[in-house]
């Protein structure tokens, strides 16, 4: 059995320590060790974006990050977006624009969209389509997702 490493991180603003084997991905630790199952596994090889989280302000596929690499990092998962006061404007826009059907890709899309809007609050449709090309959705044809991100942009201003 491989040895365990003690890893200290901040997840959704809360200091979070865990023990990880070298072979465990951040995705596996978030889900199987820390119970943060809002981050989804769709392919486990970095092609679908369902496991997108923010790592020190950048969006990453958490299936491609080894858990032991996150020592000292700040991580935001889908569980960290809504507050006691309500949903994040991106979440609200997805809800109101019917931008989800089955919902399995939704957490990844919302985190990825946040990654864009944090940096580029005026991204246009083409830029949004380009940015979100790393996230696969098989239900919606993307139309309502793009509209939701455009709507969230307005609400964030």
């Amino acid at each position: 059995m491989p040895g365990l490493t003690h890893v200290q991180t901040t997840i959704n603003g809360v200091q979070t320590d865990f023990l990880a084997e070298p072979r465990q991905s951040l995705l596996e630790v978030l889900r199987d060790v820390l119970g943060k199952t809002g981050t989804k596994e769709g392919c486990n090889d970095g092609n679908c974006g369902a496991c997108t989280v923010m790592l020190d302000g950048r969006i990453v596929d958490s299936c491609l990050v080894l858990a032991v690499e996150t020592q000292g990092s700040e991580i935001t998962t889908i569980e960290g977006l809504a507050t006691a006061d309500g949903l994040h404007p991106i979440q609200q826009a997805f809800l109101e624009q019917a931008a989800l059907q089955c919902g399995i890709c939704t957490p990844g899309f919302i985190i990825a969209a946040k990654g864009l809007l944090d940096q580029e609050p005026d991204a246009d449709e083409g830029r949004i389509r380009h940015w979100l090309a790393g996230n696969l959705c098989r239900c919606t044809g993307y139309d309502k997702i793009i509209r939701a991100v455009l709507e969230a942009e307005k609400q964030l201003k």
Binding site: G35, T106, R138
Partner: protein, 757 residues
Amino acid sequence: MSNQVLSDVEYRVVGKRPIRPDGVDKVTGRAQYGADIYPAGLLHGKMLRSPHPHAKVVSIDTSQAEALPGVLAVVTAADFPLASLGKEGLGDGYQRLKFATDLIMASDKVLFKGHPLAAVAAVNAHVAEEAVGLIKVEYQKLPPVMNVQAAMQDGAQLIHDELYTSYLGESSEKPSNVAAHLFFEKGDIEQGFADADVVLEREFHTEMVHQGYIEPQNSTAFWNADGQLTIWCSTQGSFMIRNSVADVLRFPVSKIKVIPTEIGGGFGGKISAYLEPVSALLSRKCGQPVKMLMTRTEVFEASGPAPGSWMKVKMGATKDGRITAAHVTLAYEAGAYPGSPVMAGTSCALSCYDLENGRVEGFDVLVNKPKTSAYRAPGSPQAAFAVESVIDEICEKLDLDPIEVRIKNAAKEGTRRVEGPVARKIGLIQCLEAAKSHDHYKKPVEGKSSGRGIACGFWMNRGFQSSVTMTVQYDGTISLLMGSVDIGGTRASIAQQTAETLGIEYEDVHPTVVDTDSIGFTFVTGGSRTSFATGLAAIGAAEDVKEQMVKRAAQIWDTPVENVEYVDGIIQHRSDSELKMSFQDLAKQLGATGGAITGRSNVDPSGEGNGYAVHIVDVEVDQETGKVDILRYTAIQDAGKAVHPSYVEGQMQGGVVQGIGWALNEEYFFNDQGQMMNPTFLDYRMPTSLDLPMIDTVIVEVANPGHPYGVKGVGEVPIVPPMAAISNAIHQAIGLRMPSLPMSPGKILEALWENGK
């Protein structure tokens, strides 16, 4: 760019766009999908799968895997009842159960790459994976049969030694790779071809494609010490999974509870059981809950994709564009076991048209590929690619407008399809008229090397069994229980129909999807049936509630029931205007006047109403790279009555985009050893947001007479027209017909070079 709804009838709740009840859980990551289930003491299972597409299994040795620390159970085909009952124990039922069991766990032969051979449960997935690597299997390789034409040849390598072709109720004398030959005919096609001014005969090929749902298959099972089996899984039909597990494990349904979790897409691919019986047997062996998750590669190689096909269409028409006869032949890949969707393909192939003379033949053909399954309007998209391409070519030859020709031949109320059923009130002509007058069709195509294509699509839609119960809570709300899993907004559409019927607010209906112990038998969420059939069950249960509320009011007012009526959420005395209560007022009194009221309804409706779609697409072809870009897309569809137009548009847009993927990129690519070479999302390339424009929609509402609000299924038909529409557009752009899918850059370039362009 727009989404239009062409409505004649407005309702108070049906047709509005409320927030879906499960929405907040899904945007916050709280919704529990199959992989999110973690019962106490959970173990993880992994499957050993065959690297060969066709081989005899000489021996399996699991001893080293069993000895690995952290391994708690190993199962093989020997653990399934089939092995102990054998041919003697099962008699006539042997072959059916053997096919059903072998698909889940191979015994004597492996028939596709990825075919399961053994499974391990261990303390975590990594240990289980290591243990799987320690299982030794000796194979005797056989030549793989990889396409329908090879499989149908005389003397072809047989995949099953004792499979015979069924044809018009008879069985063939010799074993064959063709499990069934279907034949439907109407009129006299020879006469029809003789009457034609133009007759075309064309062949088409399509490759195997996958539904591509983002959530892989999963199952968590716990076989309790008292013999009760509980299964959590994401499935389109909890009752189907219960039946499959009961069947292959020879175990009573009353001892199996299937708890459907949220489901991350299905499109027909999450109806069959794969992991559920295996995780159940592993749990029985070790007494702990066992979770199994497929990897993406396992999903591609060993779930149920849609068949590749070889098709032939012969069609004749008069100079003015009237189709005089059509003969369609469809040969679909069944995969390793019989049961391709070719039957539905034969039902759909010619069903957009009112033909005097037609013949449709179908062949269900075994090949060494995964057993195919349903994929959104299963069987119809392939057939439509062939038929709608030929119609386009006829329009070109006759120099006629493709919409006018389709209007001239369109199926309408009273049209009898080639395989028998007669259409009730349907909306194909209305969709074609909407296409003709749409801004998209009126404007010229923009761009260079660009073209426009149109195509129609048909899906019959389904009814089948559904069950709903609903209880009036004392605060005037409704708790609604249903067996239909919600794959894309049906909690909302069922709650809307309930609120409409009861005359209460949508927000006061709280729907819950429940397990197989908690509701009556409910068929899958599939076949475009849920908003229709489960909607009818909800309406029935709401009517039951109304009747009981009227009785209760009569009891309170001490008056005969006939004196009380229920109008728009008000319970009132027919003649005494003083006696009047709102639904909420009466609900408050239920506790003191006899207790709660529960309405119930179990239905198995016909009257589902057929689905029709017309699509318009503009494409641009890059003649240097062969890449096709979608410039503009408009999907028009008869939705009966769109219960929640946003989710109807979503179905249309999603179906279109799956069709665009099928048309341009997606295919299972096999090497000459029968191994899939692209079982990842990197190499099996589905459309991304960057590949697409907005998808415009027009919802045409021709009320379905089989439903009180005119509702009909909407989910499947939007995937039917895109392949032909895009092919027709490519033809207009570069002057070449593309008879084979996908129309990938390589194929486009090849076609251009072959034609000296």
